[in-house]
Structures are given as C-alpha cells and as structure tokens.
Amino acid sequence: MFSFGGGSSLTSVVPDATPAPAAPPGTGTGANAQVLYVFNRGGVCLLYREWHRPLRTLDPTQDQKLMFGLLFSLRSFTAKIDPTTAEKGNLGVPLLPGQGCSFYSFKTNTYKLNFLESPSGIKLILITHPRTGDQRDTLKHIYNLYVEYVVKNPLYAPGTPIK
C-alpha cells in the first residue's frame, strides 16, 4: 500500500555511481600548471596544491590571504573600470558572485593566473606558465570535479579544507 518509489533510487545518491565529467581536449597532461588554489565564498582556502614553486616569500596562510585579497580587489577594480556599462556602483563595496564585470586571467612576465568564480562563490585559481593559452575550459573541468567528488560526498562538511 505504501510505496516509496523504486527501491533502486537510493543507490543513485552514492557519488561513485556517477561517471567522471569528461575532460576538455588539450588538458590531458597538466604539465604547465604550477599552483592551484580553491577558495570558498568566505575566503577559506579549501585546497592548495603546488607542482612547481621555487620562490616562496611568505608562509602558506599569509600567502593564501594575500591571494584572496588580490582577487577581491581585482574584482572590484574590474567592475569599476569596466568601460562598457554605465552603472558601476562604488569601489570597495563587496560584490556578489557574478555581479559586475569580472576577469578571467592576468599575465605577468613570470606567470599567468587563471581565475574562475562559480555562482556559489567558489573561486578557482590556477597559476601556469605565462605563455599558456586560454584555461577557462580547464577551470570549468576542475569545478566539475569539485562538484562531483567534493560537494556530492556525504562525508564532506562544507567550508572545511578538502581531504
């Protein structure tokens, strides 16, 4: 009399039942990546990985804080300087994810920083060699991996470092 739907529906919640998202073409090796940061909305560093980092000027927590601060200021800078929209708000007021004009990369003579902000405020930062091309698809792929294996993991408490 009381039917709870198909009994098999429970198994679909288990994360390993879903296939891994397909990687975009040209992202197989990842030999160019030097450092990866993942921040949540509040500025907590969820993940930090480095593959090639000969220079270390600060200790890890200070470095992560500085990186988050740089991104925060760059976000309000790009939203304010944006020449294509007339209504820009005030400088220094915190922006919601997706509000105002954002940026996706910047380049110096020694590295290139690629940036992706999800609608929930997760910030992905990938530092690569300065002469790598557009990495927006790679960052989307990493974000999909985060959704599949971190957000869908029942043992993961939101806002804590990823283990």
């Binding site: 030097q34 450092v35 480095e50 090639h52 980092r53 000969p54 220079l55 000027t57 600060l58 470095d63 500085l66 990186m67 601060g69 740089l70 200021s73 760059l74 800078f77 790009t78 304010k80 300087i81 944006d82 020449p83 294509t84 929209t85 007339a86 209504e87 820009k88 400088l91 004009c101 954002s102 940026f103 996706y104 990369s105 910047f106 380049k107 110096t108 003579n109 020694t110 590295y111 920083l113 530092i127």
Partner: protein, 143 residues
C-alpha cells in the same frame, strides 16, 4: 559612440599617484576621485602580483583579461606605469604604450616647466598623444 580600440589611458607615477588620465569613450562617467582611486588600486595590485609569483624575477601584471575589456600595462624603468583599457583582443597595444612612453619622454620630461611626479599639463604632449590615438583609430578602421 566609442569607435576606438582604446577606452581610456592612465599614467601613474612611481608612488601610485595619477598624473595623467584621458577617456576615449567609456560608457558612464568616471569622476576624478574614482580615477585617482583606480590608479592607486592598480599600483598596489601590481606590487602584490609580484609578491605572489611562483618563480623569481616577476615585474608585475602586463595584461589583465576581463570579460568586457583588456587592460594592458607598461612599466618604465623608472617606475612610471602606463596602462590602457581596450576592447577585448585589441592588438598592438604594447607598441602603442611604448609610443606613448616616447611622447612622455620627449614632451613631458624635456619640458623645463614640468615638475617630476606631478600631474602632466603639457600642451605638446596632449597634441601629439591625440594624433597618435587618432592614427591608431584610422589604422583600426582601415583593416
């Protein structure tokens, strides 16, 4: 209506003060206070980006790619920074900034009435800069 590839030009001195600002058709108005704030904000972010470099020898941001524009920055050996906000994918802006740097050395630094690190008020610089930007626009339309 903005025709140019370049939207605006900023020149900041070595301590981050805005010494020259020219707008070439951005939407909306950026008032003087905001342009000063943007200039000093850029100066500090330029410095922070050097600290965060994973490899030694970093000289700061030279290209920032946003969804609606590109920002090209050129820093001279003396620490004066020239940066231009352009359309996305605009070409040859580095060369244009170097030409502007040349104009700066010729018509600002060689002007006996110019005080170092102070706002630029030099007629010849304005005139020649307008010509260079105009020429850039013509070549852009000719393509």
């Amino acid at each position: 209506m903005a025709l140019a590839a370049i939207y605006s030009l900023f020149i900041i001195n070595k301590s981050g003060g805005l010494i020259y600002y020219k707008d070439y058709g951005s939407a909306g108005r950026t008032d003087t206070n905001d342009s000063l704030r943007l200039a000093s904000l850029w100066h500090s972010m330029h410095a922070i980006s050097q600290q965060l470099s994973p490899t030694p020898g970093c000289e700061g941001i030279d290209l920032l790619q946003a969804h609606n524009f590109d920002l090209h920055c050129f820093q001279s050996l003396t620490g004066t920074k020239f940066f231009a906000v352009c359309e996305t994918g605009a070409q040859n802006i580095e060369t244009l900034l170097k030409v502007i740097y040349e104009l700066y050395t010729d018509f600002v630094l060689k002007n006996p009435f110019y005080e170092m690190e102070m706002p630029i008020r030099c007629e010849l610089f304005d005139l020649n800069l307008a010509q260079v930007i105009q020429k850039d626009r013509v070549t852009l339309l000719g393509r």
